[in-house]
């Protein structure tokens, strides 16, 4: 139902998420934002079970901010990703596991851009591109085919649009619009929303 995608370039990470908040067969919201800002240069994209997503993402968000307040400097994307994964793993075998699938995208001063794929079983993988949801079945092969490590930002946007076109053509569910954001050394930038009908 829900769709997340991330593409890492040489000095940026491009991420997009759909805007639908659904409850069984009804779209309750068409403009729901699934991205949570963990810090100036880290975004957490979170999909999964209804209440778990917001509860878990806000818990991670507040803890990352607390780290900054206590220690005076921010967690790196890799540290934040591992912290998130540890929390998922700790709750996995408790009475209240969190059923959430995540993409964490960030830019580190020393390591550069990073995209981390996590799923509800607490697996973690740093990947050049990643996607979550049923839409991933349709779009991962497109990413495999056209991705290069030295993609420019325009090429990455085109690749993203290609993936979304494929979803609109072949995916049975209607995902009318997508939030797009880009993270680079200057922070998080909101890009233009991709909606059905935009070129």
């Amino acid at each position: 139902m829900e769709y997340l995608i991330g593409i890492q370039g040489p000095d940026y990470v491009l991420v997009a998420a759909d805007n639908v908040a659904a409850s069984s067969i009804i779209q309750m919201k068409h403009d729901y934002d699934k991205m949570f800002k963990l810090s100036e240069k880290i975004l957490l994209l979170c999909v999964g079970e209804a209440g778990d997503t917001v509860q878990f993402a806000e818990y991670i968000q507040k803890n990352v901010q607390l780290y900054k307040m206590r220690n005076g400097y921010e967690l790196s994307p890799s540290a934040a990703a591992n912290f998130t994964r540890k929390n998922l793993a700790d709750y996995l075998r408790s009475r209240t596991p969190y059923h959430v699938n995540l993409l964490l995208a960030g830019f580190d001063e020393s390591d550069g851009p990073g995209l981390f794929y996590m799923d509800y079983l607490a697996s973690l993988a740093k990947a050049p591109f990643a996607a979550h949801g049923y839409g991933a079945f349709l779009t991962l092969s497109i990413l495999d085919r056209y991705y290069k490590p030295d993609l420019t930002r325009e090429e990455a946007m085109d690749l993203l649009k290609k993936c979304i076109e494929e979803l609109n053509r072949r995916f049975i569910l209607n995902l009318p619009s997508f939030n797009v954001r880009l993270i680079d050394k200057d922070g998080i930038h909101d890009m233009e929303k991709i909606a059905v009908g935009t070129k």
């Binding site: 409850s23 009804i26 209440g51 596991p97």
Partner: protein, 269 residues
């Protein structure tokens, strides 16, 4: 309930039935520490805040999780199906906020009551429409009323609608996965909403959504059909009221579990 709590009225000690450490899950209250040590939890027996321990646990619980209380009893089979089935809606427009709902309480195929109030004033600025299980909604509405009133008494200002929604969502979170079935729409007006008001949907699954048009219940798809076609921001008050009434009416026509009358509330700045 609130007065009891403010006066620190000591109820009978339910504390010894349950280990104190069991209260570690998020009871939102800032004075969690003092509550742990007092005998009372605001008058609400503590076992209401403790989710039952379902025997159908897929994962092995580790030593860190709570142990079941000694007088735990397994879930009892209900003699009749729970009351479910309703059409409620809330939307914002230039003239304020409208909340509307049907008045039928159904238990399976039986109309348990044809004149139920599904819209409850929670506070001077806030109204809640309920759907899901009738009993659960009544209880959680009362708990919410109590908590909002306590907040106002403690902090000398009204809790915003978004704050109330988050409070309710966090109180419901420990019960996720149990049979609690509550889907409330908080409608009202506060400073944050500007001059127009706000509608927020909170449900026991944990979802919390703010929107301009929210409809909940078994009849909600039918209501959405009428609302989406006719609703615009610039409707006049009479047009908005008649649209809300028609949406609930059409839903009650098609949905077997909604019916009888239509309750309607209108909020202005």
């Amino acid at each position: 309930m609130a007065l009891e709590d403010i006066c620190s009225f000591k109820d009978k000690p339910l504390q010894r039935w349950f280990p104190l450490s069991a209260l570690e899950t998020d009871y939102h209250n800032l004075e969690l520490e003092s509550l742990k040590t007092t005998q009372i939890n605001g008058g609400i027996p503590q076992h209401i805040f403790m989710p039952p321990f379902p025997p159908t646990n897929l994962f092995i619980s580790r030593s860190t999780s709570r142990s079941a209380p000694s007088n735990y009893s397994p879930t009892v089979e209900r003699p009749f199906p729970l009351t479910h089935g309703t059409t409620t809606l809330g939307f914002v427009f230039q003239g304020g906020v409208i909340a509307a709902a049907d008045t039928r309480a159904s238990a399976g195929g039986l109309v348990a009551c044809p004149a139920v109030h599904k819209i409850t004033p929670i506070h001077s600025h806030l109204v809640v429409t309920s759907s899901g299980s009738g009993a659960d909604c009544m209880l959680w509405e009362r708990i919410l009323i109590r908590e909002i009133r306590l907040y106002e008494l403690r902090h000398k200002r009204r809790l915003s609608i978004r704050g109330s929604a988050k409070l309710l969502s966090c109180m419901l979170h420990p019960f996720k996965g149990t049979n609690v079935c509550v889907a409330l729409t908080l409608c009202g007006w506060d400073k944050e909403g500007g001059s127009f008001g706000m509608v927020i949907y909170v449900c026991s699954d944990g979802a919390r959504l703010q929107g301009d048009i929210i409809s909940v219940g078994s009849g909600s798809p039918y209501a959405y059909g009428v609302l989406d076609g006719g609703l615009s921001w610039s409707l006049s008050k009479e047009e908005a009221i008649s649209l809300a009434r028609e949406a609930v009416f059409r839903a009650t026509h098609r949905d077997a579990y909604s019916g009888n009358n239509v309750d309607l509330f209108h909020f202005m700045n």
